[in-house]
């Protein structure tokens, strides 16, 4: 997300009523639909201008462009396919364990939900459960152990950094597969940058050991209860977490046949 500046502190963030994508026209005020726990699309950034050029005269006509970047919002029932059944079973199992479903799962996202060809469920839809961090382990245990869910294979953890998503800057994404039922889903947990703590899932999925170390190494998310949360790819004494958006890519200008090619992160950007 190198293109365009974003609203700093004090800049009102426009919130669209019906955001279908980053280029959906009209903007309205009011933020009741967005933010943590909201049902609407998750606005992770508001982009201004174009081409990543600022401080110079606007000759492109794009300088006044304002584009909210919205990730898909909560899905509506029916989710389609096996998603409804799995979510219902998960709610039951969580209730039996004394956890209210709405407390544990902040929102259920099915993307893409609509089938472009007809009214049926989209064959390429993927299920994402946004989980509150304090209930992450309970949700994982329910998904792994219940015979109707049986997500017994974890395919790791990956992090995503949304620096403009206030209070939810760091996301950890868990990819689970059920070999028994031939299903897969995704858990997403958001934590604030100021308090980047998550419970470790290594007690349930030992394979997440290295994946959590990698996410700590690259994003600075602390997995509490991990048996040895050390850096894994970078050297032990490395400063910073390289996959974060505020960490520079680095690079030097390269001269080629008399011309100079700037490093990739300083080139014109179109996003």
């Amino acid at each position: 997300m190198t293109g365009g500046t974003t609203g700093g502190a004090g800049t009102p963030v426009p919130q669209p009523e019906e955001v279908l994508g980053p280029r959906s026209g009209e903007l309205v005020s009011g933020s009741e639909h967005a933010g943590p726990g909201g049902r609407g699309p998750e606005i992770v950034e508001v982009r201004r201008g174009m081409f990543g050029v600022h401080g110079s005269g606007d000759t492109s006509g794009y300088g006044g462009l304002v584009q909210p970047v919205a990730l898909p919002g909560a899905a509506t029932r029916p989710y389609g396919g096996w998603f409804d059944e799995a979510v219902d079973v998960l709610a039951e199992v969580l209730a039996a364990a004394g956890v209210a479903f709405d407390d544990a799962v902040e929102r259920v996202v099915v993307d893409p939900q609509a089938d472009p060809q007809g009214d049926g469920p989209n064959p390429h839809a993927e299920l994402t459960l946004h989980v509150a961090r304090e209930h992450l382990v309970a949700v994982c245990r329910a998904l792994r152990d219940d015979q109707d869910l049986r997500f017994e294979l974890s395919l790791g953890v990956s992090g995503v950094h949304y620096p403009q998503d206030a209070g939810r800057e760091l996301h950890a994404v868990y990819h689970l597969t059920s070999v028994t039922h031939g299903r897969r889903l995704r858990l997403e947990v958001a934590v604030p940058d100021a308090d980047p703590h998550l419970p470790s899932t290594t007690s349930l999925y030992p394979t997440n050991d290295w994946h959590e170390r990698e996410t700590w190494d690259f994003f600075g998310i602390v997995f509490d209860g991990h048996p040895g949360l050390a850096r894994i790819e970078m050297p032990d004494d490395w400063p910073g977490h390289p996959q974060r958006k505020d960490y520079p890519l680095g690079g030097i200008p390269v001269e080629y046949k008399g011309a100079t090619v700037p490093p990739p992160d300083t080139r014109r950007s179109y996003a």
């Binding site: 898909p72 017994e152 395919l155 790791g156 999925y205």
Partner: protein, 448 residues
């Protein structure tokens, strides 16, 4: 080190070590001298790698050994970390294939295809990818699977002293690399699979070229089988070594031939088909011994299954001759065309003539798409493919721009190396090499 007399070992210099436990640090030197100075201490910590011929690249193993028995084994990785995922966030979606192909350099087509399938899913064009493009992808992936397994078997044999296994494996791989070179112009780092299809159609006469190579590859595979499968020394070295049962595999997320050697026929090509794998006729070989020997057998067996798929691909290629290999949507399809000229592969002169001499709009379109790239709707996807080493996952996130917001690769080698501890502890030092070879880690993919 004030002492003038030579010593093979030296005491630890830091105060952080418990003085009650005698410690010695040796770096190189003669083993007899080290052993003489450390006499009475059976427990030795040996650092193996990262520069060691039998660690498949720059893998560092830290082994605590008691006599000849490994009591603890730990991996150190990161020596080949190049920040490919970070770099991909600064290039267009199409340029991403050029980066991810370099991750696991022995299986480049798998990263390319997984990444392109993920991109297509984000774009919503999964069903619009032409059939011929999918056939070519499957063909390249299956040839690549054979090439990758041949390196695994060859280097694995070499590490046990069977040099002939290595030379035959690499000779056979050479036949496949020639096919890759004919299609992509390169032996590795192809960047041939692109979002929406493939960079260009296979050259004329390619089907015959593959048909000519297949008997040779089969012959080499037969020789490898003859050398390894009934060899009593080979079997004695591999049988019941590096055992990892089904529960261990599931807990540690180990997939691929190691998982199938426990008897579970989990193969992404069957479980979550992509690129039309559900329409091909092939078997998923399994075994129940869960040891290094059964993994060798499975890899050989998988090579034959891959060749079966290759033959089906060739028939389909002939049926779809002349069909497009890139999505019809010109807002996504790469505008440039390649052609084979007198001096090798390069830009198609017809295309250059068109954009430079005939159509201003075509030139603008070409320029915009190549420099700026296409926009991908905001969202995230997860796409996996069956890699020679297990399940390769791509987590791609888009913010609606022309570059990936995040592209994470769940490399099977990275994950499977976690199993080194459980496979090696309690075994012999010499078996560490065998166990690591049976996981077949490629450090380019591990470190990315």
């Amino acid at each position: 080190m004030s002492s003038a007399t030579y010593s093979a070992t030296r005491p630890p210099t830091d105060d952080e070590f418990d003085p009650g436990i005698p410690g010695f640090e040796a770096s190189g030197g003669d083993w007899d001298e080290i052993a003489r100075e450390a006499v009475g201490e059976e427990r030795i910590v040996v650092n193996m790698g990262p520069q060691h011929p039998s660690t498949h690249g720059v893998l560092r193993l830290m082994l605590e050994i008691d006599g000849e028995t490994v009591t603890e084994a730990r991996c150190g990785i990161g020596y080949l970390h190049t920040g490919i995922e970070k770099n991909m966030e600064f290039r267009t979606w199409t340029q991403g294939t050029t980066f991810c192909t370099r991750m696991d350099y022995l299986a480049p087509f798998f990263q390319e295809t997984a990444y392109c399938l993920a991109t297509e899913k984000l774009l919503g064009v999964t069903d619009d990818v032409p059939e011929r493009a999918s056939i070519i992808r499957v063909l390249m992936m299956e040839l690549n699977r054979v090439a990758s397994h041949l390196v695994c078997l060859g280097t694995g044999g070499n590490e046990m002293g069977a040099t002939t296994v290595m030379t035959i494996g690499f000779t056979a791989r050479e036949e496949i690399l020639r096919l890759f070179e004919a299609v992509t112009g390169l032996r590795m780092n192809h960047a041939y699979v692109r979002p929406g299809g493939v960079a260009q159609d296979v050259p004329e006469g390619f089907e015959d070229q593959v048909r000519a190579a297949l008997p040779k590859i089969r012959q080499y595979l037969g020789q490898l089988g003859d050398l390894m499968l009934a060899n009593p020394i080979f079997k004695a070295r591999l049988t019941d070594v590096g055992v990892l049962n089904l529960a261990g595999c599931m807990a540690l997320g180990v997939t691929g031939p190691v998982l199938r050697s426990t008897g579970l026929p989990y193969d992404v090509r069957k479980a979550f088909p992509y690129s039309g794998y559900e329409t091909y006729d092939f078997d998923v070989p399994t075994d129940t011994a869960a040891d290094c020997y059964s993994r060798v057998v499975l890899r050989l067996e998988e090579c034959y299954q891959s060749l079966r798929i290759v033959e089906q691909c060739l028939r389909r290629l002939e049926e779809t001759a002349g069909a497009p290999v890139m999505v019809a949507d010109r807002k996504i399809a790469w505008p440039a065309q390649l052609a084979v000229g007198a001096d090798g592969q390069g830009n198609s002169l017809d295309h250059i003539r068109h954009i430079m001499g005939e159509s201003m709009e075509a030139l603008i379109h070409h320029f915009k798409l190549v420099t700026e790239g296409f926009r991908v709707p905001a969202g995230q996807v997860w796409q996996t493919v069956e890699h020679p080493r297990g399940e390769l996952g791509v987590h791609a996130v888009s913010d609606g721009g022309t570059k990936p917001y995040r592209a994470h690769f769940r490399d099977p080698s990275f994950n499977n190396l976690q199993a080194v501890s459980i496979m090696c502890e309690g075994g012999q030092v010499a078996d560490v090499v065998v166990a690591v070879a049976s996981l077949d880690p490629v450090l380019g993919g591990v470190d990315r």
